[in-house]
């Protein structure tokens, strides 16, 4: 066999020293926990499970407060845990007299979930806190354990603020929502279960916009030829007809 060149031996020596020192350091100086490649390091899981729980869970609350539990179960807040509003309750469950849970009575608490925000789902009760009965604590009118509004909202804008704002700027500003939508009373209390009606055909818009209609200010079109087979709202957004789709 041909002899290895001198420089290769030297390089090999350097690599051997380097690699063996890496392996030695890894074997003896790196703590075992750092070599763990599971998604959650074992020591981290152990550390977390060793902590004392601070939340008691709703069943612990139910044991003493079954009246509140029953009324909450029927209301809109049925999917919230007691500790969502009242904070971690393990200490209170262990010794009810010594520690009391938080009771958020101040007005700033409810808007955390109920301030108007366009990204919240339609139908979710949202208000503008600076105009909605300013300075009154929410709990004077709403029972947080069963927060049904004391009376149904009078205006559609209470929930559909964005649409109302847009319509207010459009040429349909003076039309009431009920001109186009028939809204059953039940919609105000269970908005998703009882839906308002929506116009279904071209003739509906034609009541004001067809040639010869009585409404003077509305732009007129010939329904037979304008837009062919398309429905009006495929091109015109009824809450802001000026903005073409």
């Amino acid at each position: 066999m041909k002899k290895l060149p001198e420089q290769v031996k030297r390089l090999a020596a350097v690599f051997v020293i380097f690699l063996s020192s890496v392996l030695l350091i890894r074997a003896y100086a790196v703590p075992a926990a750092l070599k763990d490649t599971d998604i959650h390091r074992r020591t981290a899981v152990e550390r977390e499970t060793a902590r004392r729980p601070v939340y008691a869970g709703y069943t612990a609350c139910r044991d003493c407060h079954d009246d509140v539990f029953t009324s909450r179960k029927k209301g809109y807040h049925r999917n919230l845990s007691c500790e969502t509003c009242h904070g971690p309750g393990q200490k209170h469950a262990d010794d009810p007299e010594a520690t009391k849970p938080i009771v958020p009575r101040e007005r700033s608490f409810c808007p955390v979930c109920h301030t108007y925000d366009p990204s919240r789902p339609t139908g979710f009760p949202q208000v503008n806190p600076s105009t909605h009965n300013p300075l009154k604590p929410c709990i004077t009118c709403h029972n947080p354990h069963n927060p049904e509004p004391p009376e149904a909202p009078h205006e559609c804008s209470a929930c559909h603020g964005e649409i109302a704002g847009m319509k207010g700027l459009s040429s349909h500003a003076l039309l009431d929502c009920t001109v186009c939508h028939t809204t059953p009373e039940g919609h105000k209390l269970t908005p998703r279960a009882v839906m308002p009606s929506k116009p279904e055909d071209r003739e509906f818009c034609g009541r004001c916009h067809r040639k010869g209609a009585e409404e003077k200010d509305a732009p007129k079109v010939d329904l037979a030829t304008h837009g062919e087979k398309y429905l009006c709202w495929q091109c015109h957004y009824p809450h802001l007809p000026e903005g073409m789709k």
Binding site: P5, E6, Q7, F15, V22, I25, R26, L34, K35, S119
Partner: protein
């Protein structure tokens, strides 16, 4: 709520347009993370230029062979620094090499970096310099002779067989080195391209685009360094070498431009739900850095400048000027590319409904001054390397010898 936090939030809120999620208001990957792919790209590009000499035997580029290797090394040594500064805890940086994790793309950095530095770049430089290191060790006085002796690993063999072995080794290493350089920068692109949740990054083309922009920036950087250092040494510029590098640069820019164009058209044609917010991002927040600096100044102007030098047969002085301007603009353009990818990817909300802004600090660990310092550092390392291991001697001997 913590009043200090509220105060900070109040400062940030006016820079938000539309709706964004709360954790998107502040940009976390700052200027330092922009610098990381920029510096790594220069490494890969400079190495590819060096490999032209050894693998593809492009003789004209020989004068910049060693300069390219040392440039690659200088930038590679500094490349992890912005990451370390960004992460904090620099004393724990070695842990990425000691505790590898095969399931984490980011932890693969340990393998990629160690392979490229130890097995490719250092080995190639060592084999190339071994003969010179032994000669310098014999010629210099204490303490430099000792330094050279250590650098040569106390090797003494100057026989023809040993030198022939060096040459063969360099060729083999360069052949391994080209895919390794592709791996190094392709890997950096992969880190961004594999973020599924971010439509600005998530694209299989990103690693390839990164790679070609790396080649462009590396070649331009070596061209720039050669054009600055040679007159400082009082030597004439080797025009055939410059012309050849410039023509490689020209073709690399064309490929890079085509790939980026393809990526752009692909996104437009796919028109996924993110397309509206992305076009808003490009037309508002990134208009200057993407359309003006990256595409117009960083690609089209250099392309025209180099094409004009070819087409109209400029004289030497005008060619030098056109190459120099092109190389500077390309550096600017590639830096803007990194900026647009790293910062741009964080400027829009993942809800696709809003945009935020990035305001760079001046002082502070993630600030402008630290960024500039990190950018200057590879040049300082390069200056030391050039002083210690002069790349010129053999290059000029080579030129003199024919």
């Amino acid at each position: 709520m913590n009043p200090e936090f509220l105060h900070k939030l109040a400062e940030l809120v006016p820079q938000v347009e539309g709706f964004i999620y709360p954790n998107e208001i502040e940009i976390h990957w700052s200027i330092l993370i922009v610098l990381y792919p920029y510096l790594t790209g220069l490494v890969a590009g400079a190495f590819i230029l060096a490999s032209l000499v050894k693998v593809f035997t492009v003789k004209e580029v020989q004068p910049v062979y060693r300069l390219s290797l040392l440039t690659a090394l200088a930038f590679l040594l500094i490349a992890p620094l912005p990451l370390l500064l960004h992460l904090g805890n620099p004393l724990r940086s070695y842990e990425i090499f000691l505790t590898p994790n095969l399931s984490s793309a980011m932890a693969m950095f340990g393998f990629v970096y160690a392979w490229y530095l130890m097995v490719v770049l250092l080995l190639e430089i060592w084999f190339d310099y071994r003969k010179d290191l032994i000669t310098w060790a014999n010629e210099s006085k204490f303490p430099m002779n000792f330094v050279y002796r250590i650098l040569s690993l106390f090797s003494k063999d100057l026989t023809d067989e040993a030198i022939a072995f060096d040459k063969k080794a360099i060729r083999v290493i360069t052949i391994i080195g080209i895919p390794s350089a592709f791996l190094l920068h392709g890997y950096v692109g992969f880190i961004f391209g594999s973020v599924k949740a971010n439509p600005w990054w998530s694209s299989v083309l990103i690693p390839v685009v990164f790679l070609f922009s790396a080649i462009v920036s590396g070649i331009a950087m070596v061209l720039l360094l050669y054009m600055i250092i040679t007159p400082l040494r009082g030597k004439p510029l080797d025009m055939p070498c410059l012309d050849r590098i410039a023509s490689f640069l020209f073709y690399a820019v064309i490929v890079d431009f085509t790939l980026e164009g393809l990526d752009f058209i692909h996104r437009l044609y796919e028109s996924e739900e993110s397309i509206k917010i992305l076009s808003k991002l490009v037309m508002n927040k990134l208009f200057v850095s993407l359309v003006i600096i990256q595409v117009l100044l960083g690609m089209l102007v250099p392309l025209f400048s180099m094409a004009a030098a070819k087409a109209f047969r400029f004289n030497e002085e005008l060619r030098k000027l056109s190459y120099f301007v092109a190389a500077i603009l390309i550096q600017l353009g590639i830096f803007a590319t990194r900026w647009n990818i790293v910062v741009g990817g964080q400027l829009f909300s993942k809800s696709f409904l809003g945009l935020t802004a990035y305001k760079m600090e001046v002082m502070g660990l993630e600030g402008l001054l630290v960024g500039i310092a990190v950018l200057i550092m590879p040049f300082c390392v390069l200056a030391v390397l050039l002083k210690l291991m002069s790349p010129w001697k053999t290059a000029e001997e080579h030129a003199a010898g024919g």
